[in-house]
């Protein structure tokens, strides 16, 4: 009977993942090595700096880009994280977030530009992005673990897949929203495609692109906690330990540290987007 037949989606996916795994083993290993090297290098660097110095430097950076209020918040927040002895997990999470975000930007911005420049590319990408974003985040952990084992690298990969869509979407949107006469002007004056992109479209789309960056960072952070489940060290692992041992206080402390990091990153990127939007006024006296 037709109704008795079960479509073997699960076994198809497994076969696909396994065949990819065996065919691309060397590629995955190489990629894993690079990611591991970058994260560990970053983490080593951050750990080499005395906490107080790092605290001051980060607070100063935030003050410069987003004002003294957020700078003060950063200083107090980082002091608190160090005080509750979550400094090392905090640095691990920061390394993971930064590495994943660099990967997201390197892949997401060109994909967004491609989607904006071709309707066909957009039509192909849209359902894939929908799929990536709506699939429960945990599901990505399984293939990530299959391809890269447990630890930081599958955490970065799962984070990457989950956090990529908003950046691609908003880069696409931002570029498509550039007034058509500005684009026509660039063409009329004989600009090449690259000149049009660099001199007209990207500067105009920048506020929207920054909003996309902001959103992807937020998703990135939320995924980093989940990545604790597959052995990515950091604040996520601390939260998980709190859950497993039913230690409410410990779990809350780790959660608080994530919140502090999230607020700082959110306001910082938002400040960037605002500054760009107000660029005209900021440069007025120049």
């Amino acid at each position: 009977m037709l109704l008795d037949y079960r479509i073997p989606i699960a076994s198809w996916v497994e076969k696909l993942v396994r065949s990819i795994q065996s065919a691309w083993a060397a590629g995955f290993d190489g990629f894993a090595d690079i990611v591991r090297f970058v994260i560990n290098g970053l983490l080593g660097g951050l750990q080499a700096v005395p906490p107080l110095v790092l605290l001051v430097v980060l607070a100063a950076l935030v003050t410069w880009k987003a004002g003294w209020k957020l700078g003060l918040f950063t200083a107090v927040g980082l002091f608190l994280i160090h005080n509750i002895q979550l400094w090392t997990p905090f640095l691990q999470t920061l390394s993971l977030v930064v590495t994943a975000q660099v990967l997201i930007v390197v892949v997401g911005v060109p994909l967004g530009i491609l989607a904006a420049s071709s309707d066909a590319a957009e039509r192909i990408m849209r359902p894939i992005l929908d799929f990536m974003q709506t699939m429960p985040a945990f599901v990505y952990l399984i293939p990530a673990v299959m391809f890269f084992g447990i630890g930081l690298v599958p955490g970065v990969v799962a984070t990457f897949i989950f956090s990529l869509p908003p950046l691609v979407r908003l880069v696409n949107l931002g570029i498509r929203q550039v007034p058509v006469d500005l684009v026509e002007a660039a063409d009329a004056f004989g600009a090449t495609r690259l000149q049009k992109l660099v001199k007209v479209q990207v500067p105009q789309a920048l506020p929207t692109m920054m909003a996309g960056l902001n959103q992807s960072i937020m998703l990135n952070l939320s995924m980093v906690v989940i990545a604790g489940m597959i052995g990515a060290r950091g604040l996520g692992a601390e939260v998980l330990r709190g859950i497993q041992r039913i230690q409410v206080g410990q779990g809350f402390e780790a959660g608080l540290a994530v919140v502090i990091l999230a607020i700082v990153l959110d306001r910082l990127t938002a400040a960037f987007a605002m500054r760009r939007r107000d660029g005209s006024r900021a440069r007025e006296d120049g």
Partner: protein, 450 residues
Amino acid sequence: MPADPVKRDAHPSQPPGAPVGRTVAAAPTAAAPPKIECRSLTKVFGARPERVVEFLAAGGTKEEAQARFGNAVGVYDVDLSVRAGETFVLMGLSGSGKSTLLRLLNLLHDPTAGEVLVDGVDLTSLARAELLRVRRTKFSGMVFQQFAILPHRSVLDNVRFGLEVQKLPLAEQRRRALEAIELVGLAGWEGSLPAQLSGGMQQRVGLARSLAMDADVLLMDEAFSALDPLIRREMQDELVELQARVNKTIVFVTHDLDEALKLGDRIAIMRSGRVVQLGGAEEIITAPADDYVEAFVAGVDRTGVLTARSIMQPVKATAHVGDGPHTALTKMRRFGLSGLLVIDRERRVQGYASSEAVIAQLGRAGSAPSAEAPEGAVPDRLPLAPALTVGLDTSLAELIAAAAGSSEPIAVVDEGRRLRGVVVKGAILAALASEPPPSAGSGKGAAGAA
């Protein structure tokens, strides 16, 4: 009122290729090849435009094509040529295809069929790199309705955009940009950002950006339509003035007939993607090709465009200097006139004799035959008052002023003061009321339009 009335001269005796209203030095000869030429140019938007072109070629209308295939027809089968150094206006209502046609000229829109030739080179045959080179060297970019200047760049950086794209040395970019800024009267604003400028000033930036390119062809798309009326008029005047200095080939798109008449050496009126009439300002006004154009010109301010030439009527009767009063009176009676223009053998106007003056003179001569004048000489001469005369290119506005204080007909004379026609008050009123004037002038206009 045009500063140079000869500019509106649509006299058939002018050589067909001669640019009107230009300095002689810059004037190309009649044989000069057209700057831009369109040959059966067609643009159909949307998927599979070829079938729509076939449908149109078989006699289908734009509206039928839209309903049947869902493709918008921008421009269909347009042939025209733009002469070097002229201001060529594309005019029509929105949706008539005028902006599409403008964008076909530099291939911002890719033509579905037909050719665009600039200086004899078919742009549709060029590779992309070649096309970019043409856009940089033959065209001065484009001036847009909404200015299309970059909000994040200063005035100077906006104006040098076209030069930056060509990767010219920075010093040259700056020098040429500053010259162009000076030319449009924005000196001192180089460092300002667009948001700090008024609409009129922003459009000057757009204009300067094009002028800095220093290429022959200037494309302007509803360039002044977004400005408020006072600024718009000011910019129009400045463009006319600027054009006299820089002598570009300008293709100007507008939906405003007054603007078209003011700026255009020639005007192409578009409707549904086709050119329905092409001609000088006066031809369009006096001899509209169809109801559409006629409806279009109905509301226009004719006073600055129409001239004595187009509303004058043939002279029914004149008196010669040698004519006696009796002859003159007989002519007046026969033609039902209240006076006669008096001309000499070369048809030069000598004066005006009104019926009252002639009768008065005859009365004096009859009452005192030989007391004051020697043997009957007086009745033989006509009593001449100075005649009101105007040139062929006198505008309607001036004619109104001239006619206001008198009931005499106005004599229209050519450069040699020879009588060419008369303008009576009725003709002026008819012209204002947009009736086609029943005169030789309108006949000439129609012949020129054909």
